[in-house]
């Protein structure tokens, strides 16, 4: 593990350094409080620090306090080292934010196992963070395609609407529905259907710029949210999406499967008063118009004059 030693006394520093290296740790050394605080603020800070209480510049307790205020998922684990052996000092140290406390002069064996205990806690923290991140991903993303799920893409749309109310730029949505998807499932089986959906999701995600988002809206429906994008640009993107799906049939164990999509576009450029729900409803209506008009095409919720078309 990577450890920082912070002690102003050269003898204590040397003994710590030598022992910790011997115990297999990677060691960084600071000879006063300010130097230690600088090292601990770095984004690649050591994960544990053996910190002397009394140091010129900034003492160990002050460093503990500042560490507690850092907005980080995992803060360095602090073993406070001090010649103060009284109970109230231990209480002060731990209260200030130290994780553990060892009195000087220390028995090497004791410090060694306390570092091990700290390592266990750090590992637990890292595990629970990884798990939380995985759960967050599970809760916000679609399991099959890896795209944001319906709730998340609607959150994105809500966020873009809030941003729009401040900046004024238009927000557009594209609702895409895979044509005759039921037939794919019925003919080739659900596993092939899943492969097709995953590949469509991949192709659509590739087409998005960094500030554009696409999510899985329903079974075979995808919703793209486009920021600062007028109707014309939104239709152009929808057309690109249509083409990248139509253009290359999908590989499956049963051979190549041709797939197409019908897409509906709606933009606040023409309907500034629309809520996010209305915008999606309008895109949905346009998409159904595309279906009725023969599928594999893009329809816009508005006509060229900006009037909203009947569904």
């Amino acid at each position: 593990m990577r450890l920082l030693i912070a002690d102003d006394d050269i003898i204590c520093r040397r003994i710590l350094e030598k022992l910790l290296v011997k115990w297999g740790h990677e060691v960084e050394v600071a000879s006063d409080g300010v130097e230690a605080w600088q090292a601990l603020q770095r984004f690649d800070a050591p994960s544990m620090v053996v910190l002397d209480w009394m140091m010129p510049g900034m003492d160990g307790v002050e460093i503990c306090r500042r560490l507690r205020e850092l907005k980080r998922d995992i803060r360095p684990y602090v073993i406070l080292l001090s010649g103060k052996g009284q109970k109230k000092d231990l209480i002060n140290g731990i209260s200030a934010g130290a994780d553990d406390y060892v009195t000087k002069p220390f028995a090497p064996e004791e410090l060694r196992v306390r570092i091990l205990a700290g390592e266990r806690i750090l590992n637990l923290q890292a595990e629970s963070l990884t798990m939380m991140e995985a759960l967050r991903k599970q809760a916000t993303h679609d399991y099959l395609t890896g795209l944001p799920n319906r709730a998340t893409i609607m959150d994105v749309l809500r966020r873009e609407f809030a941003r729009r109310s401040r900046g004024g730029q238009a927000v557009s949505v594209v609702l895409a529905d895979v044509d005759h998807f039921k037939d794919v499932n019925d003919t080739f089986g659900h596993q092939v259907g899943d492969v097709v959906l995953t590949e469509i999701a991949r192709r659509m995600a590739m087409e998005m710029r960094s500030y554009e988002y696409v999510g899985r809206y329903g079974g075979e429906e995808f919703l793209a949210v486009l920021w600062d994008c007028d109707t014309q640009s939104a239709c152009a993107l929808a057309e690109r999406l249509r083409r990248i799906v139509e253009g290359r049939p999908f590989d499956s164990p049963a051979g190549k499967i041709p797939v197409t999509m019908s897409l509906g576009v709606a933009s606040t450029a023409e309907i500034p008063d629309a809520t996010q729900e209305t915008l999606v409803q309008l895109a949905d209506a346009a998409m159904y118009r595309a279906k009725r008009a023969g599928r594999n095409r893009v329809e816009c919720a508005m006509d060229a004059s900006g009037a909203v078309l009947p569904p």
């Binding site: 050269i10 003898i11 204590c12 040397r14 003994i15 009394m54 010129p56 028995a107 090497p108």
Partner: protein, 126 residues
Amino acid sequence: MSNRTADFAKPYDEAEFLERVEDDRELGDELIRLFLDNCPKALADLQETLAQGDLDTLARLAHGVKGSIGVFGARACFEAALALEAAARAGDLSAARQAWVRLRLEVQRLSAALEETVGGRTSCDC
């Protein structure tokens, strides 16, 4: 109680010191040399600070010296440093002067003993 007296009679406890360095004699010798090298300046700083009556700095310096001394298992010396730190912290100048006299004596005893240890070993190695 008799054990404690015995501990105080020795300038430092070599067995305890070796335990603190996990029997690494090379590290032990290095620490002793560091201590001996830094000792004159540390003592001079203490003396000067005491003469100036700067008790805050004195407490900090005494604390530092105490940390070094603790490593060697030098009880009497450690107690003297502790007394100096405590007196300085309490703002008691006359107690600090007394503790300082004791500490200087103990550090000299400790230094001599440490000197003997590394000196003896160096000559053996040659």
